[in-house]
């Protein structure tokens, strides 16, 4: 199955992936609509810009995910290999944040969890990947 992988050597630390993700999941028709707003992307850039190390972190879609086994609301599950969340069931307890060893999960603006679902709902290639200017984020079979 195709997943998102990152090459930290190529990451510019530009944070575009965060904006592309937030836009893809915003329902807005123009990315300019995000201007001046706090965004809640499902991918985030970590690192140390002074040291020149940056990289993007998003859900790894683990083969046997701890978040699925730990969710107290039965809201996270696997669908065709993709780890998905049912926001109707989530109550925002953050147990998944407590267990994800990658630190990949954070809640949405409403306090309810959201997560990378590989843009399966947005059609095609994940927005973080298609918008990455230096191909530091790729969508590939392993």
């Amino acid at each position: 199955m195709k997943r998102v992988y990152v090459n930290e050597e190529w990451c510019l630390g530009c944070h575009l992936c965060e904006y592309n993700c937030a836009f893809a999941n915003s329902g807005l028709s123009d990315i300019a609509g995000l201007r001046g707003r706090r965004i809640f992307p499902r991918i985030h850039v970590e690192g140390d810009e002074k040291e020149g190390i940056t990289f993007a972190v998003s859900c790894r879609h683990c083969t046997d995910p701890l978040c699925v086994k730990s969710c107290i609301a039965g809201a996270i599950s696997k669908r065709d290999g993709v780890t998905v969340i049912n926001r109707e069931k989530c109550v925002g307890c953050l147990t998944c944040v407590l267990v994800c060893p990658y630190g990949a999960l954070s809640p949405g603006e409403d306090g309810i969890m959201q997560k990378c679902e590989l843009c399966t709902e947005n059609g095609g290639t994940p927005a973080c990947v298609s918008g990455c200017p230096n191909r530091a984020i790729v969508y590939a079979e392993e």
Binding site: E8, R60, C62, L66, S70, T95, V97, P101, S106
Partner: protein
């Protein structure tokens, strides 16, 4: 054909069903369920009171779960005895089920101390099941004064759930602080203040000793009037089936990572068990949902002839109280590194070069990175520990490890 019997129908049972089916698609599975509901998310009962969820959304698995997994579920009946020699379980009413292997997943029950005069209280509840929560919801009106005995997780979640429904809520606890099993006094005081600001009252180092109708007689001599009483003093593991059959038990049924008890072909999982907490090495009852699922799954796989060892159990909890998130994990017997910012709490406990536990209040971003260090017993010498204490980031790992984490398929 293999005959599997599962006693209890909570999350540990669901894990067990999925574990069995991952290794055996044929064998017959019978589930004995005292509660008359398909498996639901027990921790959500307080969110149900609050209106953040509803019974229709609290199911743990979809509607077709039992049928798809070929399970026969006997609702509304308790197993009353287990015979490991005859390999049978007897239910209330006398029905006998034979098994090749059995999983005891009976959870825990509210512990109700012998209060004098408890029988004179008209509206009294425990807070463990969906039925408890629904009955409590029906009993409370906007005028009600509610007294909750017990300031642990269950009592406080109940207080939060009732906040918008009841007129007044008082929580009492014999301990000198709330959440005494997971927080020290400093952290507990911080959380208490936040909850008090929402209008919940506390009576600590004091508890009810008896009741007279709508009055609680407190240890301190005070008298507290109430309309509705909730007893959330604590829970006890339901161990009797295994204990009476001669199986080894402490506070919980003794199990190993494979879910095996000391009796042949008898497995156990979830809140009814005790296992090794790898953060301290101690044997403990870890009454948390993730543990129940993972123990149940391991037991199921092994019952069906597969191999699965759940050998990284640690206590951990994430709970919000009126918007303030509290996360704890591991044990606190190491040296404490207090990195608390002004607006919250952040404490790490370190022993012999390993992170053994932490307490986070208000500052919970990416906490799973810390939990991973405990679960996976990562030597702190292999990571940038100073950075870790400041911010949870994947930068604490070497670039080689990061390559594995973000450049490969991970389990």
């Amino acid at each position: 054909m293999n005959e599997y019997v599962i006693i209890g129908n909570g999350v540990a049972a669901a894990g067990c069903i999925e574990g069995i089916r991952s290794a055996d698609s044929e064998g017959r599975i019978t589930v004995v369920s005292e509660e008359r509901h398909p498996v639901y998310c027990r921790p959500l009962i307080s969110y149900m009171l609050e209106g953040k969820t509803a019974p229709g959304k609290m199911n743990y698995r979809d509607e077709g779960f039992y049928e798809r997994n070929g399970c026969r579920v006997i609702y509304g009946k308790k197993a009353v005895s287990l015979d490991p020699v005859k390999k049978s379980v007897v239910l209330e009413g006398g029905e006998e089920l034979n098994f090749g292997s059995v999983c005891v997943a009976t959870g825990s029950s509210p512990f109700v101390p012998p209060f004098s005069g408890l029988e004179t209280v008209e509206k009294k509840f425990t807070f463990m099941t969906l039925d408890d929560a629904e009955a409590l919801k029906n009993a409370v009106t906007g005028e009600s004064s509610v007294l909750i005995v017990g300031g642990g997780l269950i009592g406080l979640k109940c207080a939060e759930g009732l906040h918008g429904l009841a007129g007044k809520i008082t929580v009492c606890d014999l301990a000198d602080r709330i959440l005494s099993s997971i927080l020290d006094s400093g952290c507990a005081a911080f959380v208490q203040k936040h909850i008090e600001e929402m209008g919940i009252e506390f009576m600590l180092s004091d508890s009810a000793t008896g009741f007279d109708g709508n009055t609680a007689l407190m240890r301190s001599g005070r008298k507290v009037k109430f309309d509705v009483l909730v007893l959330a003093v604590g829970v006890r593991a339901n161990i009797s089936l295994v204990k009476d059959a001669g199986g080894e038990c402490g506070r919980g049924i003794s199990v190993n990572g494979r879910g095996e008890t000391s009796l042949p072909c008898v497995y156990a999982a979830g809140d009814c068990t005790e296992c090794t907490d790898i953060s301290s090495g101690a044997r403990r009852v870890l009454a948390i949902l993730p543990n129940a699922y993972m123990q149940g799954h391991a037991a199921g796989v092994n019952m069906a002839g597969g191999e699965e060892d759940f050998d990284c159990a640690v206590p951990m909890n994430s709970a919000g109280f009126f918007g303030l998130h509290v996360m704890t994990a591991g044990s606190y017997d190491g040296e404490c590194d207090d990195m608390s910012p002004e607006s919250g709490i952040k404490r790490f406990y370190v022993k012999d070069g390993y992170l053994t536990g932490f307490i986070l209040v208000g500052q919970t971003e990416r906490a799973g990175i810390y939990t991973g260090l405990i679960r996976n017993r990562v030597p702190l010498s292999e990571i940038d520990f100073e950075l870790m204490k400041k911010i949870p980031s994947n930068l604490i790992f070497s670039s080689k490890i990061r390559k594995k984490r973000f450049g490969k398929v991970v389990k």
